[in-house]
């Protein structure tokens, strides 16, 4: 299994500013993912972060709004740029390992944009 930590755990930000969320995994993993989740609802994949290459974004998410870095096999960052209240959500980092696509999640970053 993998243990994943995220920083910050929560933040309140002003409209128009940017926030960078950090994700650290305790072991090397091939793939890391960033998700968004409204409380009590399912997860929506933002992008897949591959080490050494550009992130792959899902429909509705663009690099200018959600730039992602993946400098090594244990770390990734997600930036939420030019924030608006609609960006208020929980952002979760995830990493994959194991033979059957088992995936592990960080505790999430609760973002509120005022």
């Amino acid at each position: 299994s993998a243990v994943i930590s995220q920083k910050p755990s929560r933040d309140i930000c002003q409209r128009g500013t940017s926030l960078t969320i950090q994700c650290q995994v305790d072991s090397q993993v091939t793939m890391m993912f960033w998700y968004r989740q409204q409380p009590g609802q399912s997860l929506t994949l933002i992008a897949t972060a591959n080490q050494g290459s550009e992130a792959t974004y899902e429909s509705g998410f663009v690099i200018d709004k959600f730039p992602i870095s993946r400098p090594n096999l244990t770390f990734s960052t997600l930036t939420v740029s030019n924030m608006s209240p609609e960006d208020s959500s929980i952002y979760l980092c995830s990493a994959r390992g194991g033979a059957w696509n088992e995936q592990y999640f960080g505790p999430g970053t609760r973002l509120t944009v005022t």
Partner: protein, 112 residues
């Protein structure tokens, strides 16, 4: 795009009751995972099922994979308040590059 529908969407029951959560897909699963997420935490993997008809037990939780691999169920016996959380099924396409597709989720509240 594969859609995973879960039912019910919400469930509030008393401690000691039994319940079943369902996950249905528009196409065949390659493998299916069940997660539980508690407030303020990330989802935690409960089980992975791969073979049609497979049944797995995890203490009071029983997971079943449909014969045709297009549906799955999670049955909880004698629910406890600690079972409260968001239950998510997810389909994991075979291979290291395929992403997980999550179901719509079932929010369970077990009242003491």
């Amino acid at each position: 795009t594969q859609l995973l529908e879960q039912s019910p969407q919400f469930l509030s029951i008393q401690e000691g009751e039994n319940l079943t959560v369902y996950c249905n897909s528009s196409s065949v699963f390659s493998s299916l995972q069940w997660y539980r997420q508690e407030p303020g935490e990330g989802p935690v993997l409960l089980v992975t099922v791969v073979t049609g008809g497979e049944v797995k037990k995890l203490k009071r939780l029983t997971f079943q994979f449909g014969d045709a691999r297009k549906d799955s169920s999670l049955h909880i016996t004698a629910a406890q308040p600690g079972d409260t959380g968001l239950y998510l099924c997810a389909e994991g396409g075979g291979g290291a590059t395929n992403k997980l597709i999550f179901g719509t989720g079932t929010l369970l509240a077990v009242q003491p």
